[in-house]
């Protein structure tokens, strides 16, 4: 296997391990930490796919920015919506 192929297979193995970890976390008694952990693992998986499989590591930094900008905007949407829902009954 070439170095490139080895890297691709290694990323795949890491993704599978993360999948196993997230399933395990679902059945562990983690309470409020559970969704945080599950989402964190999802972000880790997505980062691996973006960085290696989707070639972000080969791109100039402006293109990297273009590829992930939407995530920042999405977080604003979620954060400000939650700001409303979570503080509605506080008065």
């Amino acid at each position: 296997m070439s170095r490139e192929t080895t890297l691709l297979v290694a990323v795949w193995a890491a993704l599978m391990l993360l999948l196993a970890a997230t399933v395990a976390a679902t059945f562990a008694p983690l309470g409020a930490l559970k969704p945080v952990l599950n989402l964190g693992i999802a972000f880790a998986k997505a980062s691996l796919v973006f960085w290696v499989f989707m070639h972000l590591r080969e791109q100039p930094w402006l293109a990297r920015l273009a590829a992930v900008a939407a995530v920042a905007w999405l977080l604003m949407l979620i954060a400000l919506t939650q700001a409303d829902l979570m503080t509605r009954s506080l008065f």
Partner: protein, 212 residues
């Protein structure tokens, strides 16, 4: 590799064209992120408004089918990455082979998803058709319906992705698109496929693992 690239209007040099293609695809995938993002924002909202109902609804979802599906998709992503690698080195038949494997895994995903929908139907989780499960009486129905919209939209994207990969495999395999001169076609198809995987990577914890 860049020297082999066929230039089209309005570009003046190969590197510029290649970067433009990549950037265009990334921006397009950014719009797709926002498309699914709207649904995700609603999921978070209902998790905040009705935590118990959401956990209850999530317990009706088929965790093991979804886990198997996640594994299938991640593996198909590896095959697509290998196809892109082969395309860059000019391995015409390797491209078609890896893409064929990826398509098989993607089709298996859709088949499993179909089994899952059938079980949902018989259990009465679907709106409008089939029997009516009691869990659909309250706020849990909101979460279940979002699940159908999100996975349905994702399945449509999967179908588009499969068609795309199939077309590319045929074109490259039949020498109508040469590699590595037109490897960018495989690269673009690959980007789309990986992105559809990433969407699933988030659908999985948001719906199936939300059992509280």
């Amino acid at each position: 590799m860049a020297e082999h690239v066929t230039l089209t209007e309005p570009y003046v040099e190969p590197r510029q064209q290649r970067q433009a293609d990549f950037m265009g695809m990334y921006v397009f995938l950014g719009t797709e992120t926002m498309l699914f993002g709207g649904i995700f924002a609603l999921v978070f909202a209902y998790r905040t408004l009705h935590p118990d109902a959401v956990a209850e609804a999530a317990r009706h979802m088929r965790l093991w089918i979804a886990t198997a599906n996640t594994a299938l998709l991640l593996t198909s992503s590896l095959f697509v990455a290998l196809a892109v690698h082969a395309a860059r080195r000019g391995g015409r038949r390797a491209v078609a082979g890896w893409l064929g494997l990826a398509i098989a895994f993607g089709a298996a995903f859709l088949a499993l998803k179909g089994v899952e929908y059938w079980k949902d139907y018989t259990e009465g989780l679907m709106p409008l058709i089939g029997p009516h499960a009691s869990v659909r009486d309250g706020p849990a129905a909101l979460f279940i319906d979002l699940y159908f919209v999100a996975t349905g939209l994702h399945a449509i994207h999967m179908t588009v992705g499969l068609t795309l990969l199939g077309t590319i495999a045929t074109l490259v395999g039949g020498r109508r698109k040469g590699v590595p001169s037109q490897a960018v076609v495989v690269e673009m198809g690959g980007l789309y496929w990986h992105f559809v995987d990433v969407v699933w990577v988030f659908i999985y914890p948001l719906f199936y693992l939300a059992r509280g």
